[in-house]
């Protein structure tokens, strides 16, 4: 099939970007969206033009590197799917597709479709861990964890840190991302000692990075490739209030 792409091009963080139109020809429905972009890029390179820069790595939906807004939706219109796992069979011949980077103030564009997401690392730095050093742990079975708690912790821990939740939120809130980590630890006995301290510090870090707050639109849950539930935001908010009591 043949498609028309409208792609955000921006040379560097300081440059003014713009949408540029490219044709994508002879696209197979079995290709992934990124493989389609690979083909467009091959053509550009052969013409001596710079290829469209986009982030990607594992191409199997787990590393969280790929990050495109496709026709206005972070990771495209397929539910629970990263861009690298989005296949062209979900598009129609002749379709026009707009491709933009994650847009949020804390995510400056580095080039074209690549943004700087180091703000997410800095939120984690504030408390996204359990403070244990290697070497001192008791036997793993010394601390039983009820299966349903472990499963809930795993539901939250599935977050791949891509930042689609931020890109889709009108407030550019990182609360789904942050609450996923907070909830993972809150549901486990190992996470209890630092539970209240963690939520206070991480929320403060999120505010300092310039992310907004949640106003319950649930756009984040709708685009999350791992379908992380907004219930974790509610849980985080409860913990946050308790932390100040």
């Amino acid at each position: 099939m043949n498609l028309t792409l409208h792609v955000w091009r921006q040379k560097n963080p300081q440059a003014k970007g713009q949408m540029v139109t490219y044709p994508a020809r002879d696209i197979s429905p079995n290709m992934s969206f990124l493989e389609m972009l690979d083909i467009v890029n091959e053509e550009l390179v052969l013409k001596g033009e710079e290829p469209i820069a986009f982030d990607h790595d594992c191409r199997e939906g787990i590393c969280g590197m790929c990050s495109l807004v496709i026709n206005g939706i972070a990771h495209g219109h397929e539910r629970g799917t990263t861009v690298c796992q989005l296949h062209m069979r979900h598009f129609k011949d002749g379709q026009e597709i707009t491709i933009e980077p994650w847009r949020a103030k804390p995510f400056p564009v580095l080039r074209d479709l690549i943004v700087d997401r180091s703000a997410l690392d800095r939120i984690m730095m504030a408390g996204g861990f359990i403070s244990v050093n290697a070497g001192g742990a008791p036997d793993a079975n010394a601390l039983p964890v009820p299966k349903e708690h472990a499963e809930l912790a795993m539901d939250a821990a599935a977050c791949i840190g891509c930042g689609a939740c931020v890109a889709s939120c009108k407030n550019a809130s990182a609360m789904l991302f942050m609450s996923a980590k907070i909830a993972q630890f809150a549901h486990l006995p190992q996470g209890q000692p630092e539970r209240m301290d963690r939520v206070r510090k991480m929320v403060a870090a999120m505010d300092a990075e310039g992310f907004g707050n949640c106003t319950n639109q649930y756009e984040c849950e709708a685009v999350c490739p791992k379908e992380i539930s907004v219930r974790f935001i509610a849980e985080m908010n409860r913990d946050y209030w308790r932390a100040w009591l």
Binding site: C63, S118, N141
Partner: protein, 638 residues
């Protein structure tokens, strides 16, 4: 001239590591912060090492090419991590884990290293549980286990189908905590381009900042490479797009021996190729083989739909050939068997390069809900890629390049023959011999990073007596100039072909002549084909853009350029090893039943190669493998 001394401690196997730990020199707590350690790569091995070294008090600088240390390709490991906990009460022990691992590797690994790996495996599970890794649990709250290929006990710990992700995020959490404390300085989007030796000792690296293009020197008291494997040499593999051999290959060019490069694991349960556009192959965890049955039609060219083929016209060839291990036969054997039945014309799918992985019996026995709970994400992934429902019709699978057992040579202390250069995780050669068992990569990466390197590093720093050096030294300036020269040269070529087209051609040569089956004529053919293609690469590629920019095409060109030199090394190794062992199947060396036939008399050694010049045959050095405890046997999984 290279000297290979494994420095394996003497004494009984089970005592070696304890004794070695007692004898190694220590660094005083207040002196640790005076040492700086450079860790390149932040996957399971690098991330855990950087975090743990910082916990101990060392100054650490860590580097990764991704935008965050949370994204290394360890994250894609699905199935699990082995440990000798014997929580299932099924007779497991440190010795059995050791024995299964060394047998699985077809007796081509060092006994002392593998035994130590099994010994520290239990501490890894304890530490990860303490970090809050949400391992799968039983209803009573204790940890659950599953079985994996090459073992008859259940010793694999897992977190749904995302074990690698959860373990990596555990290591990342520990690492980011140390970054926050200021104990680790993190350089993301930064790629190592050169190793720097001062007076023969590894003292630093040169990196390129992938955003600004800035070429920078970094100096330290030790360099740790945790840069993963070289599977992307084959173009199509299960690796992440960015995985590359550059750091390890640059170290090799500076004198580090490269060991057993021909040991490349071709993983049996990947999704078959659909066309030329394909940029990667996707693996599905081999844990699927616990409940899936592998088969092809008995008849050649049977084009019926799988569910229309009656039971008695199906060949469950792994169960037939290996009744005691069945569908859980080790990876090398499973992959080769799949290739055989496809070569016979019994392969399935459009191109005939595929076999069925069928869950119908398990669904009947356990119910679809149980299968969903165990493997739901893998079925979803399969559906996304193929648009086929694996619960209703059998999945199609075919082997793909996955993991590389070979790597830089290291001694018992995980140090290469270049003093100060340590190599951990997949980047070294040490523990998996000629074939890695499932759920052992995560174990090795974390063993190296959490529990081995932190000890041996202290010994190196306490004994090395290193002079202070700075990046003003001519060795650094020269390395920077070389990196700059390479960048400029790649940008100046302005030829007519893309880097990717060359990479694809190189991959085809490697897959055809140095893939699952290898023979002398084919390997010699590969050695004829690679040099002219490499020459054309250096004349005819085109890389647009500038060096001082974020330039993804330039990044790719640098990596592929190194693959073009490395490919020859791998083929030389495969040619020299005239036996079959593990993943390395020389067609000239097989039993009457078509199984791999080892030649212990002539090849019971590690082949460690020394660089002599581009396009020249490297020098071979042999480290004999002495087996003090295990009896070498023909591997049998029948």
């Amino acid at each position: 001239m290279i000297t290979l001394d494994a420095h394996a401690p003497s004494g009984p196997l089970a005592e070696k590591w304890n004794r070695h730990r007692n004898e190694m020199k220590l660094v005083n707590p207040s002196n640790k912060r005076k040492f700086k350690i450079l860790v390149v790569g932040t996957g399971l091995a690098g991330g855990s090492a950087a975090a743990t070294l910082a916990e101990l008090g060392y100054n650490v600088e860590a580097f990764c090419y991704q935008d965050s240390p949370r994204r290394a390709h360890s994250i894609a490991a699905q199935g699990g991590i082995n440990a000798a906990k014997n929580y299932q009460n099924d007779g497991d022990s440190v010795y059995r884990l050791f024995y299964d691992t060394i047998k699985g590797g077809d007796f081509r690994a060092r006994e002392s290293n593998v035994y130590r790996l099994a010994q520290v495996s239990n501490a890894i599970i304890d530490h990860c549980a303490a970090q809050g890794v949400p391992f799968a649990r039983e209803y009573g709250g204790l940890l659950d286990n599953r079985s994996f290929g090459g073992a008859q006990v259940s010793r694999t710990f897992y977190a749904r189908g995302q074990t690698g992700q959860q373990l990596l995020l555990g290591a990342y959490a520990s690492l980011i905590r140390q970054i926050g404390r200021g104990a680790v300085k993190m350089h993301s989007r930064s790629e190592m381009q050169e190793l720097v030796l001062v007076d023969g000792v590894a003292r630093g690296i040169v990196t390129r900042d992938l955003v600004t293009g800035k070429i920078e020197s970094h100096v330290g008291d030790a360099v740790v490479l945790a840069t993963g494997g070289y599977g992307n040499l084959y173009f199509l593999s299960t690796m992440a797009a960015g995985c590359n051999v550059t750091a390890a290959y640059r170290a090799y060019k500076k004198g580090a021996a490269f060991a057993n490069p021909c040991y490349v694991q071709i993983h049996p349960t990947c999704i078959p190729i659909t066309g030329d556009h394909q940029s990667k192959l996707t693996l599905m965890s081999e844990s699927l083989r616990n409940d899936g049955r592998i088969w092809v039609p008995k008849k050649v060219g049977d084009k019926r739909a799988p569910n229309d083929i009656p039971e008695d016209e199906r060949d469950y060839y792994l169960e037939r050939k290996y009744p005691s291990y069945g569908n859980l036969a080790p990876r090398d054997i499973s992959s080769r068997s799949a290739k055989e039945v496809c070569d016979e014309g019994r392969g399935v799918g459009e191109a005939g390069r595929g076999v069925y992985l069928d869950f119908a019996d398990s669904i009947k026995r356990l119910g679809v809900e149980t299968i969903k709970e165990r493997y739901g994400n893998l079925f979803d992934m399969y559906f996304k890629i193929t648009a086929e429902n694996g619960y209703k019709i059998p999945m199609r699978i075919y082997p793909a390049t996955h993991y590389t057992m070979g790597g830089l040579w290291v001694d018992y202390n995980l140090m290469s023959n270049v003093p100060g250069l340590h190599v951990i995780g997949e980047a070294n050669f040490s523990d998996h011999g000629a074939n890695r068992l499932g759920a052992s990569a995560l174990m090795q990466g974390l063993a190296d990073g959490y529990f081995i390197l932190p000890y041996t590093m202290g010994h190196w720093l306490a004994t090395a007596k290193l002079p202070k050096v700075s990046t003003d030294r001519p060795e650094f300036k020269q390395a920077e100039a070389e990196v700059d020269g390479k960048v400029k040269r790649l940008l100046s070529l302005k030829g007519k072909r893309t880097v990717k087209s060359f990479h694809r051609d190189l991959g085809k040569i490697m897959w055809e002549y140095c893939g699952m089956g290898r023979n002398e004529a084919g390997l010699k053919k590969a050695l004829e084909l690679i040099p002219p293609l490499r020459e054309e690469f250096w004349k005819n590629i085109t890389v647009p853009g500038a060096g001082e920019d974020l330039n993804t095409e330039l990044e790719r060109a640098g990596r592929v350029a190194d693959y073009f030199e490395f490919a020859e090394l791998l083929v030389y190794d495969a040619l020299e090893r005239k036996e079959s062992c593990g993943s390395h199947f020389r067609e000239e060396s097989q039993t009457s039943e078509g199984e791999a036939k080892r030649d212990d008399e002539n090849y019971c050694h590690v082949s460690a190669w020394e660089f002599t010049g581009v396009g020249q045959r490297p020098n071979l050095h042999k480290e004999p493998l002495a087996f003090e405890t295990v009896q070498l046997g023909q591997r049998s999984y029948k």
